[in-house]
Amino acid sequence: MTRLDVRKTHKLYIGGAFPRSESGRTFEALDAKGGFLGNMALASRKDARDAVLAARKAFGGWSTRTPYNRGQVVYRLAEVMEGRRDQFIEQLRAAEGLNDKKATTYVDAAIDRVVWYAGWADKYVQVLGNGNPVSGPFFNLSTPEPTGVVATVAPSGPLLGLVSVIAPAIVTGNTVVVIASEKYPVPAVTLSECMATSDLPGGVVNILTGKAAEIAPWLASHMDVNALDLAGVDDPELAASLEVAAADNLKRVLRAPTAPVDWLAEPTLARLEGLVETKTVWHPIGV
């Protein structure tokens, strides 16, 4: 008798736990040929707000970790992803219909991307900060700090695109609520399982599966969200309306790309820099 496989229930990732959507709704994730992959939790407005709450709660602790520690935690995520390499490759092949070579390229690039960003944790302050030569007897130093809670619409690249928007946000100490690719949600759930087992404190990354057009407006207008990353929004009208909503509390906005992004290319610091604030401290010099 052949063994019956044990199927996984795909859930949301909020505050380090794996709840179903409070709405009780699901949607079907399909493979490249239109076949059934799994029922995914269809996140609701309430789930999005719960996720913001979890992200806010995690911000104080995560942003005050030492840079070395944050770097290690993010690096640890890469280690755990490496252990799931075959699973990721399999999932990319199933979801996107990629051949083995291509799927491997994307998975390896995703793991390497996390490693790349991990190394920035204890360096970006030196690169983006400044000692300022003011013309008076003052010590004057500018340092970048994380902006707070970041809401992100992830690009459709189900793994490389996803980590390429999460990593630059969290490595500086932000916490994020990310809406995973609507079309390819399964790898995002696997990534959340990597996160849950990689020393990343609960709430630092919260992953919602569902419809960006439904959830993103609630995140864009949420008054306790500090920044909005529209990397995965390809509808210009939706992008503009989200930007308008974001103005209610002057969220920092990383705009939707106007041309296709090559996520395989080595990133610049733009995403990381777009989610930090520069703080300048003055103190008199004297005896």
Binding site: V134, A246, L250
Partner: protein, 480 residues
């Protein structure tokens, strides 16, 4: 504390020649606008100083076209070293003509001459000098080997530091290789119009700087003009949000420097005499018309009585009156409208149960004035602790522990600046780390320098002005 009586010592206004009316400065010359005009008055006397043109949408379009043409044909083709020399010229001319500008600024704005003369104008010249040196060093700004300008910058500035805000906007824009259309505030257009003459004196190519005057509608037409690549705005948070909405879905790069409600935190081990000077400077500098003013004083309970006594004594020596008098500490409120706003919020302070105390001083018969005022017994729920008053009104709260001070200081949608007064170094650094504000002044307040980035967290806006960060705001390849 003895208050010495001084004889009047007014600065002569003969140094400045105010024309009876001004056109718009477009394409290197003054042109008539297509709309009407409005009057700029002196807020200390209500005397009409000049008639100024109200630029229409067509005028704005003409100015943007002029800036675009100057960008395409001249400015973007000049080597950085040549742009630098123009900016150095402007810096030098501003220094040479600084007294003239200071007098005009105090007349049009109402601020004391000792501030316009000793703070605003020196910083203006320095700002141009500082950014002049960047113009041929852009490849060293950390944005790649050859960062490109954005194009045409539309800049809208407020009335509290008219010529200084002009310098903060124009200097980095031109250094980075952009051309600009700048709109000064409707109540304080005159120094910007005088600056147009400086551009002519410096022989700046026509169209590189365009100055258009008008009110909100003119500013909106500029910000929303489709051929503007960069929007830089300093002003209220409400207008800042409107701008953020209006540029949604465009590729315009935006920096917003908006309101604040800064906490100025005094610990019990602070050097109290210095702290009191810092409190007074923090809220009464420029009549409190300062976005980064220390408008919420947080005093540790154990020194509360002593701080309040010293503060009242010090405030009793402040001289309110003629902005052109060299001994004046507190000038005029900029406009009748702003005075009404200050009065309204102060009345709300009374009504909500806070206790008002104003420095005893004579209020002149004409013009707009408000005596330096403090409110004690303020709680975080009071509107005067939450809303920006933008006047010489200080709300005083108390705290017991550093954690409580941080909690209260950060309990605001704003995040522009903060002050910390303590002799303990480790406490300063701990507070500086925890305060969610773009500028933290420790044992000092209201210090500005072109080399030092300035700008806010949260609803105080985004982007930085000053320093390398301020330069990046006018170049491609930077997110800010």
């Amino acid at each position: 504390m003895t208050k010495f009586e001084y004889a009047p010592a007014p600065e002569s206004r003969a140094i400045v020649d105010i024309k009876s009316s001004y056109g718009l400065y477009i394409g290197g010359e003054f042109v008539d606008g297509k709309g009407g005009s409005f009057k700029s008055i002196s807020p200390s006397t209500e005397e009409v100083l000049a008639e100024v043109t109200e630029a229409t949408a067509d005028d704005v379009d003409l100015a943007v076209k002029s800036a675009r043409q100057a960008y395409d044909k001249v400015w973007s083709k000049l080597p950085g070293s040549e742009r630098a020399k123009y900016l150095y010229r402007i810096a030098r001319i501003m220094a040479e003509r600084s007294r003239e500008f200071a007098v005009l600024e105090s007349l049009d704005n109402g601020k004391p001459i000792k501030e316009s003369r000793d703070v605003d104008l020196p910083l203006v010249s320095q700002w141009f000098f500082y950014y002049a040196g960047w113009a041929d060093k852009l490849g060293h700004a950390g944005l790649g080997p050859d960062p490109k300008a954005l194009g045409v910058a539309g800049q809208v500035i407020p009335w509290n530091f008219p010529i200084m805000m002009l310098a903060w906007k124009i200097a980095p824009a031109l250094a980075a290789g952009n051309t600009v259309v700048l709109k000064p505030a409707e109540t304080t257009p005159l120094t910007a119009l005088l600056f147009a003459e400086v551009c002519q004196q410096a022989e700046l190519p026509p169209g590189v700087v365009n100055i258009i005057t008008g009110a909100g509608a003119t500013g909106q037409a500029l910000v929303e003009h489709p051929d503007v690549d960069k929007v830089a705005f300093t002003g209220s948070t409400a207008v800042g949000k409107a701008i953020a909405r209006s540029v949604a879905g465009t590729s315009k790069k935006v920096t917003l420097e908006l309101g604040g409600k800064a906490a100025n935190i005094v610990f019990d081990d602070a050097p109290l005499d210095q702290a009191v000077e810092g409190i007074v400077g923090g809220i009464f500098f420029n009549q409190g018309h300062v976005c980064c003013a220390g408008s919420r004083l947080l005093v540790q309970e154990s020194v509360y009585d002593e701080v309040i006594d010293k503060l009242k004594q010090r405030m009793s020596t402040l001289r309110l009156g003629d902005p052109l008098d060299k001994n004046t500490d507190i000038g005029a409120i900029n406009s009748a409208e702003q005075l009404a706003r200050i009065k309204e919020l102060s009345d709300v302070g009374d009504a909500e149960g806070a206790e008002r105390w104003s420095a005893p001083c004579e209020i002149p018969d004409s013009g707009f004035w408000f005596a330096p005022t403090i409110f004690t017994g303020v709680t975080q729920a009071h509107r005067i602790a939450r809303e920006e008053i933008f006047g010489p009104v200080l709300s005083i709260l108390t705290f017991r522990t550093p954690a409580e001070a941080v909690e209260k200081a950060n309990n605001t949608p704003y995040g522009l600046s903060a002050g910390v007064w303590t002799e303990k170094g480790s406490r300063i650094l701990s507070m500086a780390n925890q305060l969610r504000a773009g500028v933290v002044w420790a044992n000092t307040f209201n210090k500005f320098d072109p080399a030092s980035p300035f700008g806010g967290y949260k609803e105080s806006g985004y982007g930085r002005e000053g320093g390398r960060h301020g330069l990046a705001a006018y170049l491609q390849g930077a997110s800010a």
